[in-house]
Amino acid sequence: MKKPLIPLAVLAVLAVLPFSGLSTYMMHILILVLMWTTIGMSWNLLGGYCGQVSFGHAAYFGVGAYTAGLLYFKLQASAWWGIPLSVAVVSVFAFVLGYIVLKLRGPFFALATLASGEVLRITTENWNGFTNGTLGILIQERTWVAKTQYYYIILAITAFTFLLVRRLVASKWGYYFVAVREDQDAAESLGIDTTKYKTIALVVSAALTGICGAFYTNYMGFIDPHIVFALHDISIITIMIVMVGGVATQWGPLVGAGIMVLLAEWIRSIPGLGASHQAFFGVLLVLIILFLPNGIVGDFRKITRLFGRARA
């Protein structure tokens, strides 16, 4: 009875945030947090609930980003059409890719997804006639100078993703996903078509990530293969967000994205820390993973106990 109120309350807070007089700098950071939350939630569907750990979400992010970019670059259309179009393009792409990689299990699946991201990056780099290669795509004039519009667009995408993932996980499909994660052979023997449900999880997860890619193109105004197909800056960060926040939890990606973006930015701006900020941040992440293996949301009870609420 209390449960559905929490998401609404969070949404309400996020919706009024732009009116609290935040600087465009804070708005930029918040937009990034929301974008990463969405990517994290979509990864969580495949990696957290369905147990298929993907190291290649940059592939879907990049295909989405390039769908929007190429619309503008080749057809002189508004890059915003990339958001609906990327759903179709990325879904088809993920379906085809899934046909290949979903036959693999465990580390082999992870490695195959990792390779798919890299293959796409190298392809985009070299397919000069179509993608403009390493020169990337520059959108000459972004739609808005102000951040508010972008903020609400990404907030809508995030809310939609949250709802969709929540619905899916609570449905019968959600139980199939978890069954596949826990024991694929057992699930199969119970009559679950594991390949089908893994494909569904992958396609939905990929399409949601693709939307974020298309949003990124519109928001940043410049993409190149190194940026949007980045192994570390996209694929690995996505996994880190979910790991830090909490795998297979509803709120994990939001918390994780908050930490990975806000905290990283905050540590980066500590004066005097200089170039060592990355080492500092790295140590912090190691500590979180060591002591909170289920992430901050997953181990929330442990945290409250640590801070003495249980003492009473």
């Binding site: 465009t24 700098y25 990034l32 070299n126 390493t134 020169l135 940043m220 701006s269 170039a275």
Partner: protein, 396 residues
């Protein structure tokens, strides 16, 4: 707790500032740079050079009596971080102008924000041609665009080498791609055939497959566009393969850094590179800057450092001439810049499809006895060029 602590600190900082009088209120300038990651070497050199310039400017009384206080923000060569920094500088710190960044991708992100927010942005060493071709009113660039990087080298090739064939290797980035494309055009004009044009992954460890291909084609000239680690590795493997060309040349960036010679050791000998500046140029202040840098940090700086050092003088000059510290007035002052700097004469022109672009001469360096020496254009040379290069088996 935390909030009240930072509030206290801010209050005490404010008190301190007022205690020392209004006139001495410092001019804070934060500079976005890559200080970690693959481009950190360039960021570090630029940081040192900015600091040297600020010291000199402050010793002479600063900007309109205000001291320049520099701080640096690490953008990690990531466009979204660079954008975050610049949004903060413009919006929170109310900084009226932006200087800095290094990679072209980051400069593009910063330029778009600066122009939208009507804040002047002075680019110091980002090469991609398109940045100053966007009709941006508020974006100024001090270094020549990529299409001009190899001009000096090309004039050397035309007058002294007259190559018949060439091979081009370049890293997969916009700097590499556009540098290679420009060189291909030049080669066409020189009547020189491009036998091999290959792109490689930056940060690769094994270049032997593509180098073997080059060896088979046996070109007169091998031209390479790379950052620093790749540059030295390429030359080392060229030496191992005994790949003999009449001339190896680099397209600035990695080849022009002192680290290139340090890392590649004797494999770097005789290698030529295009560059935008050399410690031996006869611009006023160039030698002083280069010597001071060397005394402090042990090596001569490359054009990146000189450009950063001079950029701060350009900023100082523009701020001193500007009617106020408002962005509009600073932009106007920048547009009228006519300054002799250690980097050469700086003026921003609209020419050949570029806007607010500074055009200057480019040079050729050659590594001789483990040092970068200026060998071209003739008027600036401090050593005579050595050509053709001795074959590997004839070297000691």
């Amino acid at each position: 707790m935390k909030r009240s602590a930072s509030g206290l600190m801010a209050a005490s900082a404010f008190l301190l500032a007022t205690a020392f009088g209004h006139a001495a209120e410092p001019f804070n300038l934060a500079i976005p740079l890559p200080l970690t990651g693959g481009q950190a070497k360039f960021g570090e050199m630029m940081k040192r050079s900015y600091e040297m310039a600020a010291e000199e400017i402050n010793a002479k009384g600063g900007v309109k009596g205000r001291k320049i206080v520099l701080s640096f923000e690490d953008s990690q060569a990531k466009p979204d971080s660079a954008r975050a920094i610049v949004e903060k500088l413009i919006d929170v710190k109310k900084q009226p102008l932006i200087v800095g960044e290094y990679t072209s991708a980051c400069a593009k992100a910063v330029a778009a924000v600066a122009n939208e927010r009507k804040t002047p942005y002075l680019i110091v060493a980002s090469a991609d041609d398109s940045i100053t071709q966007q009709n941006y009113k508020y974006v100024f660039r001090q270094n020549v665009p990529n299409a001009y990087y190899a001009q000096g080298l090309v004039s050397f090739l035309r007058e002294k080498v007259q190559p018949k064939t060439m091979a081009i290797l370049y890293e997969s980035s916009d700097f590499g791609t556009s540098g290679a494309a420009d060189m291909e055009k030049w080669a066409g004009k020189l009547g020189c055939k491009v036998l091999v044009k290959e792109k490689y992954e930056k940060g690769a460890v094994d270049f032997k497959p593509i180098l073997s291909k080059v060896k088979q084609a046996a070109p007169d000239v091998l031209f390479m566009v790379s950052y620093v680690m790749d540059a030295s590795l390429l030359m080392k493997q060229i030496k191992e393969l005994r790949l003999d060309a009449k001339l190896y040349a680099g397209g600035a960036a990695g080849f022009a850094l002192p680290e290139f010679v340090d890392n590649a050791k004797d494999a770097a000998e005789y290698v030529m590179t295009a560059t935008l500046w050399t410690p031996q140029v006869k611009y006023k202040g160039a030698k002083e800057y280069a010597d001071k840098y060397k005394a402090k940090y042990g090596d001569f700086p490359s054009y990146h450092g000189a450009s950063a050092y001079s950029a701060l003088h350009v900023v100082h000059d523009a701020l001193s001439r500007a009617k106020s510290m408002k962005s509009e007035d600073i932009t106007e002052a920048l547009k009228k810049t006519k300054l002799q700097t250690a980097y050469g004469p700086v003026a921003f022109e609209d020419k050949d499809g570029y806007q607010n672009q500074c055009f200057s001469e480019t040079f050729v360096l050659q590594v001789q006895a483990g040092e970068h020496e200026t060998v071209w254009p003739y008027a600036y040379a401090n050593k005579k060029f050595i050509y053709p290069f001795p074959r590997w088996r004839d070297r000691k």
